[in-house]
């Protein structure tokens, strides 16, 4: 669309299969109770597995075990 408004920069995220969602920081996450938590890291790992001890961040609890 020449001359139209510039495309807004998209937030790029990456999913580690079986692991967290990686997203460029800083990130604010709104928790179910409405409160906000913030991470200022250059890249933030959000827990997708539900097992993290420090939600909403990943703490590698998603890892499998050795055979």
């Amino acid at each position: 669309m020449p001359g139209g408004p510039a495309e807004r920069p998209a937030t790029r995220v990456r999913r580690d299969p079986g692991g967290p969602l990686l997203i460029e920081g800083p990130v604010e996450v709104e928790l179910p109770d409405g409160s906000l938590v913030r991470s200022d890291r250059p890249v933030v790992a959000l827990c997708m597995c539900g097992r993290s001890g420090i939600p909403p961040w990943c703490d590698t609890s998603h890892r499998g075990r050795r055979a």
């Binding site: 967290p20 990686l22 890291r41 250059p42 890249v43 790992a45 001890g53 961040w57 703490d59 590698t60």
Partner: protein, 325 residues
Amino acid sequence: MRPPQPRGEISAALIGALTTTSPGEGPLPAAGAADPYGDDLQLALYLCYELHYRGVAGVSDDWEWDPRLLRLRGELEKLFLTALRADVPTGAGAAAALEELVLEPRDGRGVSHFLCGSGELWQLREYAAHRSLYQLKEADPHAWMIPRLTGRAKAALVAVEYDEFGAGRAERVHARLFADLMRDLGLDDTYGRYLDAAPASTLATVNLMSLFGLHRALRGALAGHFATVESLSPPASRRLVRAMERLDAGPAAVRFYAEHVEADAVHEQLVRHDVVGDLLRREPGLAGDVEFGIAATRRLDERFEADLLAAWQARRSSLLIPLTD
């Protein structure tokens, strides 16, 4: 850092030359057939490397690039590296070695398991004293990788290092967080303070990263080292948070490991996929060195941890000079 006490002929001659002569003057020792994992060689090598970090009090900075000192360093490195290449199992490939790093063992028997389950405060303090040799210069050796990378690997490595170095805030530099931990544990956070107390198996873990970092030819091994450190850290840090809390070690002591649970869950992803992944796409011939770097790091960590656990099981100090309170 003050010059250490000698631990044999080579380290004695080296310390003597560094502290009493100028570069180019007196005689320097030869490495001969020193035990590659022994105290004498590991201390001499540690001292050669320290000239590249912060230097040694009373020792001329010009020693860093003295050709004869570099020759001695080269001889020591050759003995160490040859032994490692012979002793460390490789062959399964870099991909398998990287995958294995993020699988949890079923029966954890390492130091972090021990400290978490039944460690006592004196053991926690000893562990921190050992680790201080690296943690007070945490992430410094990996910065040597920066000029050797390009593109995505470089951008990802620097993103991780930025986090390690406090993201622009001096009070958040990980080495500084470790100094805070040491003070919570009643330890002296002076750089190099526990060098004389650290046995060869501790020195070897630090010498390994200096060796990999100072040789561009070993950049693949350094990338493997970093992937190993970052991947093994989150679960171990989780256990150490519990140990610090259980033993009431103090808020800064808890904070150092809590920070590493969260930070290294990210760093692990970036180092494995972006740094190592991109490096190997550009230079597939480095796969063997990445695998070697991972295996050597794990082997030396296991030796270090086995020495600590053996000493503690015998109810004796794991340090060459026990801590006083």
